[in-house]
């Protein structure tokens, strides 16, 4: 019986000729990731080990990004704990203020994630690297600790749902609209425990940043991972960012899928997820009159250069509506610098937006844009759960950078226009 792309990667990492959905395996890991919230808990677990040390100092990435630069004394203590751990174990990929960025934008940019890798991260959006043809999935801190110590993790081999993408998206439709459309279609548990395997000729028209956004939100449909085939564009991206060898896998022609959906990208419209679940989607022509208080453009979902470019294009020469706070957060130092050199930051600031240093901050209600009771935010982030960005009576509307920028100008949820 044929294997899916995910199953082939897992079989190779487990040293097995074949794996089947439901099988429990132990796989070798290429990278173990943690951030400033999840790593301290993992370090505490590491202390319980009877053996000392980490499996490989170059195959662990610790990224201080959630509450960094530190928002308070407790978060500073957490970072200090991780900093000392990284120093003690000579972790080469420790990224702190000045070098850091939002982990899932940073690691591909640094060339640490490539096709064929098996990656676990103590952050649910670790599924992002599926855009490069890697198997990557979110875990908790104990799994991270075990991964750091042993270089291995146990997995239940997932079955898969196939998303056959055809056609070309229209001008203002981005990867965010594609994944919101899919989550709206299958629900927040539609891919529970499963792989989401994207395929089809429509992928050729999606930029790498679009693909990162789509794979990033696989978890929002409950997926174990989201994964793309490795085409010329993906290879060019990885060659430009990494010196590591690529292990390119593809699904067998007779691979078995639980379900197959065909999505014609040309029919999609800008899409918004209403409170309080990412599955509550409406196309932009169905949103009605929703006045807002804040706009956030950034996060591991939509803080990359393509995202900032489209937002700047819309905000260029315009003004953020009176009374609207518009917060733009480039996801990494490199994206920040590139955006500066391209004049995007100037466009944002002249429009009346603020530009922050890289951080996950507002997305999880950490800092840098907390919402008050009754406030509404259009956000390019990934979750609109109750209280996610602040007060439990606040509301989050998830959208693309184009919709977010257009909404900042009008003060209500709006379609991007020419």
């Amino acid at each position: 019986m044929g294997m899916t792309m995910t199953q082939k990667i897992l079989a190779a990492a487990a040293g097995l000729p074949e794996v089947k959905a439901g099988q429990l395996i132990e796989a070798d890991l290429d990278l173990v990731l943690g951030n400033d919230i999840t790593t301290p808990v993992a370090i505490h677990e590491m202390d319980k080990f009877t053996t000392e040390g980490v499996f490989h100092k170059d195959k662990i990435a610790l990224v201080m990004d959630h509450f960094v630069p530190n928002k308070d004394i407790k978060s500073a203590q957490h970072c200090k704990c991780v900093r000392e751990f990284a120093c003690k174990h000579e972790i080469s990929n420790y990224f702190d203020v000045g070098e850091m960025g939002i982990e899932h934008a940073l690691l591909p940019e640094k060339g640490l994630t490539v096709a064929g890798d098996v990656i676990i991260g103590a952050d649910s959006h670790t599924c992002t690297y599926g855009a490069l043809g890697a198997f990557s999935t979110g875990v908790g801190s104990t799994d991270m600790a075990a991964g750091m110590a042993t270089g291995k993790a146990w997995f239940k081999v997932p079955s898969a749902i196939k998303f056959n993408l055809v056609g070309k998206p229209s001008k203002w439709v981005s990867g965010k609209d594609v994944i919101l459309h899919i989550i709206g279609m299958i629900g927040v548990d539609g891919a529970l425990y499963k792989s989401m395997e994207f395929t089809g000729e429509g992928i050729a028209s999606l930029s790498m940043d679009d693909r990162f956004t789509i794979a990033n939100m696989a978890i929002e449909a409950g997926g174990k991972n989201g994964i793309f085939p490795v085409d010329d564009r993906a290879i060019a991206y990885m060659k430009a960012h990494s010196r590591r060898g690529l292990k390119v896998y593809g699904a067998d022609p007779d691979a078995v899928y639980d379900e197959t959906y065909t999505i014609d990208l040309s029919t999609l419209k800008p899409t918004v997820a209403f409170p309080h679940l990412p599955e509550n989607t409406r196309t932009i022509d169905q949103v009605g009159d929703i006045k807002i208080d804040q706009v956030v453009i950034g996060s591991c979902t939509n803080g990359r250069l393509d995202d900032l470019r489209v937002a700047a294009k819309i905000l260029q020469g315009k003004k953020v509506a009176k009374g609207i706070r518009c917060i733009v957060i480039p996801a990494t130092q490199k994206i920040y610098l590139d955006a500066m050199e391209e004049g995007l930051l100037k466009a944002f600031i002249e429009a009346g937006a603020i530009v922050s240093a890289p951080t996950c901050g507002p997305c999880l209600g950490g800092y840098m844009g907390i919402l008050a009771e009754g406030e509404r935010c259009v956000s390019t982030t990934n979750r609109n759960f109750v209280g996610r960005m602040g007060h439990i009576e606040s509301e989050i509307y998830l959208a693309s950078p184009a919709v977010a920028a257009a909404s900042a100008i009008t003060g209500k949820i709006s379609a991007p226009i020419e």
């Binding site: 919230i37 080990f49 875990v139 529970l192 999880l364």
Partner: protein, 161 residues
């Protein structure tokens, strides 16, 4: 081994942000996390919960963020077992890895209400609703998962190997 207590019942898609909001994630102390457990979905939970009580929920319990602080908060609040129609996968792993017993059982999720007295036998997977006089057969854990739970977590299990 058995769990025995009063049930707190919740609906679909209880996410880890409401189990333990990110504003408290600047701490990793189980007691501090437990003091805010379920705060954004049920403000009274921490005042009412007693050691041994159970959480029962509908589908996709623990969805969203991978924060292990969520099962840690639930365990430290004294909850002895979580029963749900389905669990989000990262929460499922995390709960097992820290030794918080969880059972998927759609029938039990439907047949149990807030305030019911429920007993769970971990060895057989049998769930008894003592208030209503009904029983449900929960899914038994695979052997290696039982070993992790018996060792009270993944790290101790690895140490024993």
């Amino acid at each position: 081994m058995k769990a025995n207590g009063t049930v707190f019942k919740y609906g679909d898609n209880v996410d880890t942000d409401v189990i333990i909001p990110a504003r408290y994630l600047n701490s990793s102390d189980p007691k501090e996390l437990a003091a805010h457990c379920m705060e954004d979905i049920d403000k009274e939970f921490v005042n009412k919960v007693s050691p041994g009580d159970l959480i029962v929920a509908d589908k996709n319990f623990g969805c969203g963020s991978s924060r292990e602080h969520a099962p840690i908060a639930i365990k430290a609040a004294g909850v002895s077992c979580v029963i749900a129609e389905t669990f989000a996968r990262i929460f499922y792993r995390n709960a097992i890895n820290i030794g918080l017993p969880i059972i998927e059982c759609p029938e039990a999720a439907k047949g149990i209400e807030s305030g019911d007295e429920v007993e769970v036998d971990f060895d057989s997977g049998l769930i008894t609703n003592k208030t209503k006089g009904t029983t449900f057969q929960g899914q038994a854990f695979p052997e290696f998962m039982q070993k992790i739970i018996k060792a009270e977590g993944l790290i101790n299990y690895i140490n024993q190997k």
